[in-house]
């Protein structure tokens, strides 16, 4: 275990002293604080009106403001943190010759990759936690509403999901740094994967759904066809980790959302009765709605790390 501790310590020192980390952190902090400020000003206006909405504090994270909400920002930009922290994790050591030096020390070989992944995850956690605290602090002073216990729990769960989400992308980038010898190659490959999963999958989902269940003048009125269309589109788009993340954090951070589905078929009577009991979901119920999403997200994170682990352990250290 001593080996892994030494490696984690060194990796953390590397991360925190790198320009890469500082630039990334400054960028994220700046955007988050600006977004929070704008959203907070909007919320303040709203709060001065006669209607007092619930869960005001959480709306700091979900309200879109003029640009985007904080949750959307992390969903979009979070992967970049993971990718930037890991895309040269192994291949840089390989090209400078430090990998064979490291492997010739009396440590298990998996200590190298475990140490790198853990150090990256710690860095991500520190980054996200400090951003969250910054945003909360600014939000507190702006709107003057103290979060309740349930809101704090929701924010903590949101933080946890976000850490896994970013760690998934860290795993992807470490995998690519093992697979590709060139640092530039692995950087480009990780970017390509990120763009593919974040943007093309959702476009592709629409295309697949249109091909499978074409919606024209007649079928548009058929609820069954419409439902099938939406279902196919959702299934395909869930292949994207970004969609999984958006769905799970959306429900967790916003208690008024009851389902991840965008289209729910309801009869007029049902609609009436559900509208009468429109209340925010309890935390446990919110978690219940998105537990499959959360588990999938955690699972792909572990799968991704597992694949990197297996590839790294089987690879010959030499083949320089």
């Amino acid at each position: 275990m001593t080996g892994i501790r030494a490696i984690i310590r060194k990796e953390l020192a590397d991360h925190f002293s790198s320009y890469r980390f500082m630039i990334l952190f400054a960028l994220i902090a700046m955007v988050s604080l600006i977004t929070t400020y704008m959203v907070g000003m909007g919320l303040k206006d709203e709060l001065s009106g006669p209607e007092k909405p619930g869960f005001v504090f959480l709306r700091l994270f979900t309200s879109t403001g003029p640009l985007f909400s904080l949750v959307q920002f992390v969903a979009f930009f979070g992967p970049l943190i993971g990718l930037v922290l890991g895309f040269d994790a192994i291949n840089r050591e390989r090209s400078t010759g430090t990998l064979s030096k490291l492997a010739s020390q009396p440590i298990y070989r998996d200590a190298i990759i475990n140490g790198k992944f853990l150090a990256g995850t710690v860095t991500i956690t520190i980054m996200l936690l400090s951003i969250l605290l910054l945003v909360s602090g600014l939000g507190l002073t702006l709107i003057g509403v103290v979060p309740g216990a349930e809101e704090i729990w929701r924010i903590l769960i949101y933080l946890l999901i976000s850490i896994f989400y970013v760690a998934f992308w860290l795993g992807i980038s470490i995998l690519f740094s093992i697979l590709f010898r060139g640092i530039a190659t692995s950087a480009l490959a990780t970017l390509a994967i990120w763009i593919f999963f974040s943007f093309f999958v959702s476009m592709g989902a629409t295309v697949v759904a249109n091909a499978a269940v074409p919606l024209d003048q007649t079928t548009r009125k058929d609820p069954q066809a419409l439902l099938r269309h939406v279902r196919i589109q959702r299934t395909v788009s869930l292949m994207s980790p970004m969609q999984l993340y958006n769905d799970s954090t959306g429900i967790i951070i916003d208690p008024t959302r009851r389902t991840t589905r965008s289209l729910v078929l309801m009869g007029p009577v049902e609609r009436l009765s559900s509208a009468r009991f429109e209340r925010p979901l309890e935390l446990s119920q919110s978690i219940f709605v998105v537990i499959p999403h959360m588990i999938s997200l955690i699972a792909i994170t572990f799968i991704c790390f597992g694949v990197s682990y297996a590839v790294f352990m089987k690879q010959e250290i030499r083949s320089l």
Binding site: G3, K10, S100
Partner: protein, 252 residues
Amino acid sequence: MAQQAIVETDHLTKRYGSTVAVDDLSIEITEGEIFGFLGPNGSGKTTTLLMLLGLTEPTSGTATVAGFNPTKEAIKVKRIVGYIPENIGFYDDMSGIQNLQFIAQLNNIPESVSSPKIDEGLERVGLKDDATKKVAAYSRGMRQRLAIAEILIKEPKIAFLDEPTLGLDPEGTNLIIDYIKSLSTEHNITIFLSSHDLTQVQKIADRVGIMIHGRMIAHGPLEKLAHEKLGVEDKKISLDEVYMKYFQEVSP
């Protein structure tokens, strides 16, 4: 000095696809000696070292390092073996002293033990004034000296040195060769020195092995090889001549 084999290989073979990197290698290295492992580039010297370190698995045959099997007991072997890879491999953005501290941590040497050793080691190789400089600013010779300091800190039983004088000027080469000699005499470390710098190896090696195309074609003390190949008893015979003789026989 105990006449005991510390490194032993038994029909050690490594194939990469159809190419044979190391072919049926059987050698013995005695504790305390300096063994010069000679051969042209690509003759399988590095592959042999990697197999002895447990970083590469042999295709067939076995190796024993200080009684341990490097494939199965890699950690035990790595604990008592020092290794300087061909391209040395230090972290450029860390200072010399930080690099050594990191190695000490990886070897589980407590700081109270390692920090005087690090100072001593840096002093010994003449890097005391540059200890806090980043390794990126080091010259090739300084890196090699830092690698020697690393061996001094780890105090292994055996040191595997892969081309330690590669790319050094004559003065730097002499310095490194002197340090290697002192590793053997002062610290009683068995040295396995892979090189193609024959004149340097000749100065310090007790025995040499000549490796060509993955095969060890001759090994023994230099005088013996000279006697066999050139039929001379002269102790001043140069290794170059012996080596060229072997080389011409194998690849006409």
